[in-house]
């Protein structure tokens, strides 16, 4: 898609150059293959008018096409962002809900096993939120940091990722 516009723009020039080369090589020795075009003013203006209209239509079609492509890219990015925010919302609200319920339990339970359980649960959820905020910071850094280019051993990277996931 990226090179489509160049292809459409250059195709007539390349075709013309190819034909010119062909005629040059084939008819170099004979100079009687010249084509003369004659037209009255009426027909000439009609042909020129039609040609210019065709050109304008082509230009507008190409502009519209590139505009639509840009819109599609923007819409996809906006959707991606919405999905991310929805996911983030979910990831934040669940531990917070659990913490609020855990705190309500802590306020009411006498000391003992159940109270210790509620406390442990609240701690786990706060750790989860801390991890989430650290991940968000990393994400923010990734967006502004310059991209480094360096050779990567892909199989080793995949092995690492696999062992981490296990």
């Amino acid at each position: 898609m990226k090179y489509g516009r160049w292809l459409v723009t250059l195709a007539p020039a390349v075709l013309g150059a190819g034909l010119a080369l062909y005629f040059f090589l084939s008819f170099d020795l004979h100079h009687d293959h010249i084509v003369y075009l004659r037209a009255d003013f009426g027909s000439l203006s009609l042909i020129l008018g039609l040609g210019l209209s065709g050109l304008a239509a082509l230009v507008f079609a190409l502009l519209g096409w590139s505009g639509r492509t840009r819109q599609q890219v923007n819409a996809a990015a906006a959707e991606e962002r919405r999905r991310f925010l929805r996911r983030l919302d979910h990831e934040l609200k669940n531990p917070l809900t659990a913490i609020r319920a855990g705190l309500a339990n802590l306020a009411e339970l006498p000391s003992g096993g159940a109270r210790r359980e509620a406390l442990a649960s609240v701690e786990t959820q706060t750790l989860r939120l801390s991890r989430l905020s650290a991940d968000l910071r990393k994400l923010a850094e990734l967006e502004v940091r310059l991209v480094e280019h360096s050779p990567v051993d892909v199989p080793a990277l995949l092995r690492d990722a696999f062992s981490m996931a296990q």
């Binding site: 979910h90 669940n94 917070l96 809900t97 659990a98 609020r100 319920a101 855990g102 309500a104 009411e108």
Partner: protein, 238 residues
């Protein structure tokens, strides 16, 4: 002694069910837990709980689909949705699909217990809740929820859309103390930058239109320092 009302708590997040379930048990309910929509449908079929507390975002079968399947199958077990969405319109849709009420995460567990009690008190066994009815009536006041139109004494009232939404929530929650914050959340959404004064303004508009005397209310009663209550008897109309 009356048996404890049974509640099916449905959430895929074990941290939430682990903490909420003992809290609800201490509040006087018999609690069972399901971790996804499919399990919830099975447990509704076998256990016939009195009420479902249903999370919306879940794997396999989400809460909204569980709600739809139950209502399409003619099951009107009261359902309280635990929503994640912030949009007031999305929440209104949840109510239209047949949920009895909803609560936004993260919520105060005491608020959940208050809502469960209110829903159980309102519930009419085997019948659709007021929140699923298209037309509601209270004496000479009629509200059509599909077209958002209101009539008093057969004359149509010109109300702002926010006032209609407010009246709708009050009429679907009759005899329930509704706080200003709750109304603000329901009608404007939690992130809307207006204060609770906006609620009072709309209530005043409704009272004027309904010719309701705050001193001797037929419809909306003010509970000083707490909120409002719809005091009329609400019934469904075909």
């Amino acid at each position: 002694m009356q048996p404890k009302p049974s509640i099916l708590l449905v959430d895929d997040e074990s941290a939430i069910t682990d903490n909420l379930s003992p809290f609800l048990s201490r509040s006087g309910f018999a609690v069972t837990v399901a971790s996804n929509g499919e399990e919830a449908l099975q447990k509704v079929a076998t256990g016939h709980p009195d009420l479902l507390v249903l999370d919306v975002l879940m794997p396999r079968l989400d809460g909204r689909e569980v709600l739809r399947q139950l209502r399409q199958g003619g099951n009107w077990t009261p359902i309280l949705l635990l929503t994640q969405v912030g949009e007031a319109s999305e929440r209104a849709m949840a109510l239209e699909e047949g949920a009895d009420d909803y609560l936004n995460k993260p919520f105060d567990p005491h608020e959940l217990v208050a809502r469960i009690r209110a829903v159980l008190r309102r519930a009419r066994p085997g019948q659709p809740p007021l929140s699923a009815a298209v037309r509601l009536a209270c004496e000479k006041l009629i509200l059509d929820r599909a077209s958002h139109r209101v009539w008093l004494d057969e004359a149509e009232l010109a109300l702002t859309p926010k006032s209609v939404m407010l009246l709708e929530y009050m009429m679907t929650h009759p005899d329930e103390l509704v706080s200003r914050d709750r109304l603000l959340d329901v009608v404007w959404g939690w992130d809307y930058p207006v204060g609770t004064r906006a609620v009072d303004t709309r209530i005043a508009e409704l009272r004027r239109a309904l010719d309701d005397d705050p001193g001797r209310p037929r419809y909306i009663e003010t509970i000083p320092g707490q909120g409002y209550r719809f005091v009329g008897t609400v019934e469904t109309r075909p």
